[in-house]
Point group: C2
């Protein structure tokens, strides 16, 4: 069979704030070669994540950062992304037409896999209920009962789950977000101990001190920049920073955090960058933990869903403007 | 008995580069109270370390950093420092006149301890041969054979030993220092695989890349600022930064490193601040390891010794100008 795949790509590299005109929709043909073990998928849901912006930047081949180099997207190229899809044609014994699968699909109507089965798997029916993309990071910081945890972009796709996991571990959790509605949601629906709107706070350092008079044990950083500086100024001795994302720096490298290393040394602070792929071993435990808590209602998910391929650029741009609440997903087709 | 103690103190808080006029010499009387367990020491050698500058700054009592607050020195106060001394009078059964001791003495001719024995101990005769103040930090980074290690201020008191320890672990070690003579010393006397003079290098990032074409596994940071930024740009995936000192920031907070958190996340870099006091458990192992290697000549120490109490301010100021080679010590008296 052959299908025409409409997909979203970038017109040119994006090095600042993304705009709708940076994107375009292209078409290409997809077919299953006879005798191959290709699988053609119709994409149903696709994840829209801020980290994608780093793939759209100009990449220097001399950079030490082979991860970002390997992930780089050139203008016109298909953009891979996590999502849920349905098999429409398969030359592979392990997959049949109409199977639901989850894994790396793309910002397009169809995806094709050429025998690389590690990139997707059959869907566990429970997985549809909650986004699993990036939330294992909290485990990096080994939260202990009674510890004080601060989460930035706390109503975002990662933050809203991280805060709830920390509560499950018996921590005291404060989050920050960018609107009154998000703050109310954190406190009233998600069980955060407290939350504040960072846009109302001219001095983040003293604001954080108000919420953590004795200091922070764990800062789960999705922001970088000034927020990271203010958090470090308020950390306890032996405090840990889980560096998960840097949304303030993605679109403006002038927003880099200027770190007080004297503080980091004297307070013996640990800053650890991580990617979800480092923790695949923990994934089964993570999933069963999450499923149990979803079932008994002690964990709640926030999803923000737009409909249709054409909404992808706007959905993506909105991440950098804070328009999403919770995990941003685009629904591409009905099952 | 009563002695008059001449000691060096600060005239007022020091928030920038230290000058000789920031210091003065004062006198106070020291006596052993009858029936007390006080010990009076004549100071012989005292350590001159950059970190002392942080004790001389203006301290905000509201700071979360209770370590620097507790260590703060007020103008006129005696400045405690690591050193070697001889007992001149003792009300304490464990110490006799003429015992040699090592521990926290001061920038003065005499020290007195009021029963706080944990602050000093009888001297192990071997200890005179090498400075033990700060060098345990390398263990933080768990160096493995074949790993690539970069050390800044490599001819300083900490750096010159850290580099040699890393060689003992089978690592490839490159150091940087601020003069041609220091660079020659690192390569020819201390066995570093390579070394460079950072003052000759307009672009630290590309210079480091020349010495580490495949990237750095461990960066032992004594500098902060631009050097830390350049090292992080050149780190391998899962690289580790042992944050030991920030001499570029001590006297100028504008020299803070502006960290590329995107790099830190994608390369999963760990930055860990530490103090020597966190590793007291390892001290016996560290000492026996060091003694063995000193005895068989595979470890060499650099000491830079000035004579007399009055040289302390100049010796201290020299640390920030790079005039010392190796560990800076002031000899206060003959045994």
């Amino acid at each position: 069979m052959e299908v025409i795949n409409r997909y979203v790509t970038i017109k040119s590299e994006i090095n600042g704030n993304p705009k709708e005109t940076d994107f375009e929709i292209k078409c290409s043909g997809i077919s299953v070669e006879v005798g191959s073990n290709d699988v053609v998928l119709k994409n149903l849901y696709v994840s829209i994540d801020p980290y994608q912006i780093n793939r759209f930047k100009t990449h220097s081949p001399s950079s030490q950062n082979s991860t970002t180099n390997a992930m780089a997207i050139s203008p016109g190229q298909i953009i891979s992304a996590y999502g849920v899809a349905k098999v429409v044609a398969s030359g592979n014994d392990e997959f049949e037409k109409d199977d639901l699968v989850v894994g790396m699909i793309c910002w397009g109507e169809y995806s094709v896999f050429k025998g690389d089965q590690s990139m997707f798997r059959k869907l566990n029916p429970m997985a549809l209920e909650f986004p699993l993309s990036h939330q294992v990071g909290l485990f990096v910081s080994k939260p202990k009962k009674g510890e004080k945890v601060f989460v930035s972009t706390a109503s975002g796709s990662v933050g809203h789950l991280v805060g709830q996991y920390a509560k499950q571990f018996g921590c005291y959790v404060v989050g920050c977000a960018g609107t009154k509605e998000k703050v109310a949601l954190l406190k009233e629906k998600l069980g955060f101990d407290d939350a504040f709107n960072y846009k109302d706070e001219p001095n983040l350092k003293s604001t954080i001190k108000k919420y953590f008079p004795d200091g922070i044990d764990i800062y789960f950083d999705n922001v970088g920049g000034e927020m990271l500086e203010a958090a470090i100024a308020n950390m306890k001795h032996f405090g840990r920073v889980a560096a998960c994302g840097v949304i303030s720096e993605y679109t403006n490298t002038n927003n880099r955090a200027s770190l007080n290393m004297v503080d980091i040394i004297y307070k013996r602070i640990k800053i650890q960058g991580f990617l979800v792929s480092d923790f695949v071993d923990m994934f089964p435990d993570f999933i069963s933990f999450t499923m149990n808590h979803l079932r008994n209602g002690s964990l709640k998910t926030l999803e923000d869903i737009s409909i249709g391929l054409d909404t992808i650029p706007k959905a993506f741009i909105g991440l950098f403007q804070g328009t999403n609440i919770g995990k941003k997903i685009v629904k591409l087709a009905n099952e």
